[in-house]
Symmetry: C2
Subunit: 247 residues, 2 copies
């Protein structure tokens, strides 16, 4: 008989982590990997940055398994479709609740495993119905997509958005994590790359200490945001995980 496959992950051993930025849409893309096996995932890749991403992957020696989207984005086209054409066996992943096409559909409580590391899935609807957040296996960080942004949150006025749902998602699914957990959002428009969750619990001007659900609904109602410039192209494309329509 021959032994199976396993490993010991030592306490405090950090997951491989790299944050990348797309200037055009202010989108953060994340590479996460098992430092021992180099099995990796990419979260929220942007189509026009796929060449950069592939160079990073190669220089880090990563074996990419999945391209995971936090939701069907309205402001850029996901890179997962393009990555599928570059990496044999690479699969796209999105929430079942998004209604989008992908190789694998996931939901709350599922775990995405790469090598001996993983992220677990929390349903955080509100910006869109299918929004997910991803918690690192050691709770050291959470990828919040467009649900919780640094000192802000995603808009809730289109694509099945709901201010009530977003408020409840943040309070029941994100603010219940430890204060030390680092928030990595899908966007930032002011150059901030991360925040401590404890600080957002206290000082997020829309969702922090003292803000009730009805305060939040009122704030979101009065934002008067303009229509996203890429939504009419990006949303239909992202419902197919970034794969262009074949005529």
């Amino acid at each position: 008989m021959t032994a199976g496959k396993g490993s010991i992950v030592k306490a405090g051993e950090a997951m491989g982590f790299k944050q990348l930025f797309d200037d055009d849409s202010s989108t953060y893309t994340y590479l996460l990997w098992d430092p021992s096996t180099k099995d990796a995932i990419i979260v929220d890749p942007v189509d026009i940055q796929v060449d950069r991403d592939l160079k990073e992957i190669e220089s880090l020696g990563l074996n990419l398994v999945y391209g995971v989207n936090t939701h069907a984005h309205a402001d850029h086209i996901t890179g997962t479709g393009l990555l599928k054409t570059k990496i044999d066996g690479f699969q796209s992943v999105i929430s079942d609740a998004s209604g989008a096409k992908a190789d694998i559909k996931i939901g709350p409580g599922d775990k995405i495993v790469f090598g001996s590391r993983s992220i677990s899935v929390r349903a955080t609807p509100g910006h869109t119905e299918g929004c997910l957040s991803y918690v690192a296996d050691d709770e050291s960080f959470v990828l919040t997509g467009d649900t919780l942004l640094i000192q802000g949150c995603g808009r809730t006025d289109f694509q099945g958005g709901s201010a009530e749902k977003l408020y409840n998602s943040v309070h029941s699914q994100l603010f219940t994590l430890p204060d030390e957990t680092i928030v990595y959002p899908a966007h930032d428009y002011k150059g901030r790359t991360s925040a401590k969750l404890g600080d957002e619990k206290k000082t997020n001007p829309r969702l922090g200490e003292g803000k009730t659900e009805s305060d939040f609904v009122e704030i979101m109602k009065n934002l008067n945001l303009s229509y996203p410039k890429k939504i009419d192209v990006a949303v239909p494309a992202n419902m197919r995980c970034g794969v262009p329509d074949v005529e």
Copy 2:
């Protein structure tokens, strides 16, 4: 480029689990595995039951990775040394704090990964200084070794035992798990195979509701237990993970 290795563990997907009993020492041995890859570990195997264990492993189609001990037992000889001679690449695992020999030494916060599933390690000294408990990745169960037994606990009067430490281990490391978590101990002398942790929190006659640390110390002081019949053979053997001394 080719994709790496990963998988999706769906919410609620149970780990493979089999409990086995050694009549002679009233010891429970556990087989745990990833249902998709069949990568598996064995916890607290008993030397005289290794043939039975190997038959189980074969009939379940498991690929055993590690033989994990909760501590250096005083009442039976571990089967990990014998299993090493039967399975190529199989490795023995025990706590660093036990002072015992093994291929891999682990400590609190470490994770033992097999396929895409894992158990996490909690330090629960008291029965011995090196006792560990193992929590399933979904917190559905905990292997408590000789720390917490059903309606009881391990003795604390030899091998570096300490009633104070055991009390604190149970309260800080085990009773903090959800009420629904199932307790699987290393022994039972009355045919009970498991208990709900919530019931032990309430009704364990030594450690449950209303029992203070000084109550517990007093109870343990007055047990008047006899000297374990196998301790002089078992402990030295188990300090070498069950591998006999070569003359």
